[in-house]
Symmetry: none
Subunit: 367 residues, 2 copies
């Protein structure tokens, strides 16, 4: 049993050979932005894994034998989830994928390890394998779990980009993709499919586009034939793969070598207003876009207030920020003053947000 060796620096854009837990333990803590993990779930649950206590159990009862196997799988799952969590930056996140054979145990282990589930996502397969015996439903989906390192983490999520990719409505938790077939499906030297569970690149594309930024580091502890690495490289993200099987490593290395990264400028995605620089309302007054004493009107026309020199508003009985006065006048818990208050220009009512945008445009032109 090898002792834990000194942590080495981050081996970006490489495939590490070996057991994923041992390899992860050698990497520096808090160095990875995203973990993508597609762990084995077709494990023979009959002694293939080491048992936690190494004891031999007489298989006299199926139930207990099964429980023993579950315990071994759970121990394995706890170990790799724990090692991965150590590597994640405080605001990092993880995606895992599985089927009903393992995903419930894995999800529970994620919660127990301190991960904070953000969504479970269903991958609906357009072309699943039928159930040949007609004894169950066609198993037409797999389940992904998206979780942040902790409840407090400020995870990356490109909401607007996903919404744009979905014809302008929020992306849902069910995603429809075909399974990996045709040219995308890697073959080995014998012409057979190289890996039994190769994931479609479209799935990784959506995951990496939505929950990482260009330049981020993506770690895949069950690299297989390197789908996550190939998509990460294409999208300008760094990747690290860990894989035990030499044949998979070789295929992945060759595959990723063929990938041509997208131009850096083409990696831009839609952003929300939250990403824009903050402009205090007072700036509008300072710059003379609004005059002190000028009267603003509410969206519904029922209220009005006067601009004061310090960037506060004065209504009949309320005084404060554009948001505070709007909220109090409406009896609402909160109010976005930028879209609530309007001023008049050439007879038309214009939201003060237009003036903020004007300043933002000027700032952007200066850069």
């Amino acid at each position: 049993m090898a002792g834990k060796t000194r942590e080495h620096s981050l081996p970006l854009d490489t495939i590490l050979a070996g057991d994923c837990i041992a390899e992860m333990e050698r990497l520096p803590a808090e160095s990875v932005d995203l973990v993508f993990a597609d762990p084995p779930y077709n494990l023979q649950l009959r002694g293939d894994l080491h048992r936690p206590n190494n004891s031999k159990v007489d298989a006299v009862d199926d139930h207990w034998d099964q429980f023993d196997s579950f315990a071994a799988y759970d121990a394995f799952t706890r170990d790799w989830l724990s090692a991965a969590r150590r590597l994640l930056k405080p605001d990092g996140a993880i995606w895992t994928i599985g089927s009903y054979h393992n995903v419930f145990r894995m999800g529970a282990a994620m919660q127990d390890a301190g991960y904070w589930i953000l969504n479970d996502v269903v991958w609906r397969k357009t072309n699943p394998m039928p159930n040949f015996r007609g004894k169950r439903l066609t198993n037409a989906h797999e389940t992904l779990i998206w979780a942040s390192r902790s409840e407090k983490a400020k995870y990356t999520f490109h909401y607007e980009a996903l919404k744009a990719a979905n014809d302008g409505v929020q992306m849902r938790s069910d995603w429809t993709f075909p399974i990996c077939t045709g040219h995308e499906r890697l073959k080995n030297a014998r012409g057979e499919k190289a890996h039994p569970t190769q994931k479609p690149e479209a799935l990784l594309h959506r995951i990496l586009m939505a929950t990482t930024n260009p330049g981020d580091v993506v770690l895949d502890p069950f690299f297989g034939t390197g789908t996550s690495g190939a998509v990460a490289k294409m999208l300008g993200r760094h990747w690290i793969g860990i894989e035990r099987e030499a044949e998979y490593r070789d295929l992945a290395q060759a595959r990723i070598g063929m990938v041509r990264p997208v131009e850096r400028a083409a990696l831009q995605v839609s952003t929300s207003k939250r990403a824009e620089p903050r402009i205090p309302f007072g700036t509008l007054v300072e710059r003379g876009l609004l005059r002190p004493g000028e009267v603003l009107h509410s969206l519904n026309g029922r209220h009005s207030a006067q601009v004061r020199p310090d960037g506060t508003l004065a209504a009949a009985r309320e005084t404060g920020s554009i948001h505070q006065v709007g909220a109090r006048l409406e009896g609402a818990p909160s109010c976005n003053g930028w879209t609530y208050w309007h001023f008049k220009r050439e007879g038309k009512r214009v939201p003060i947000d237009a003036l903020r945008q004007q300043i933002r445009d000027e700032l952007a032109a200066m850069r």
Copy 2:
């Protein structure tokens, strides 16, 4: 603390008042064919949530959904799963439903308890509540787990009936239904929604039609307003509900009292292979647009046939798809059942194609 009393005989078609674990422990072992369980999800909501228009979301903050820790929730889950398993006949099965908050723990506990998972099923909601803050994906599905009492169980599964209800192709593991709204949603005396998590009858219809037989006993330990009981009664299954809250029990009792069971002859489902219907007529039945047992009339008024729960028709001497029965009755080589068969609404004869169009519109709206 009451001791465990003598097991009493099976109280068919009644609602038991009390804690589900205690009540289940008093019922005789191996007496139930199917358990349907919609347990508390253990949502861990932090603060209030408002919609962009400042209205407040009516959250599930009921006391019955509060647990102190994962450990407390797990203990509760283990206990009721164990009590339910004792009640199941050796070939019995269970359906559970949950969201990412609880379903992983629940699924793992099911495996640990000795249940054998047959499928996980995704209920895709056509009209989920959006994510108002744009911080996550729209949580647009819930997960069901279908499991037999043990690996060896010869569970009930009406493969052909489901296939018939699904356009002649195998039923998949992702099911699409709207959430429970409108007239189906029970209101309390104050005109508010009676229960925060009422499930759609269409969901229970598919479950009971596919995995029980007429006359079977269906136990629901978290009965709520009795959706499972109402559908069980309609489909000629026996039901037993357990519910702690008197208000829910009263509403469920009244609701189930209104249910008119389908004629026994109308409960027959397909058991042999037949030609693939080109249209999923069964969807109309699942969604309650047509009742099993309802009589359809031919275009020329000379023939009639009864709707069966799996979307086939039964005429005097003919049985099969809407197209087959129409063709045979007319002595024609073929027949478009969609335009041939009519139902009555408010005295008018309407082609069933109008109902198909209604569903198509819904599907088109969700792309």
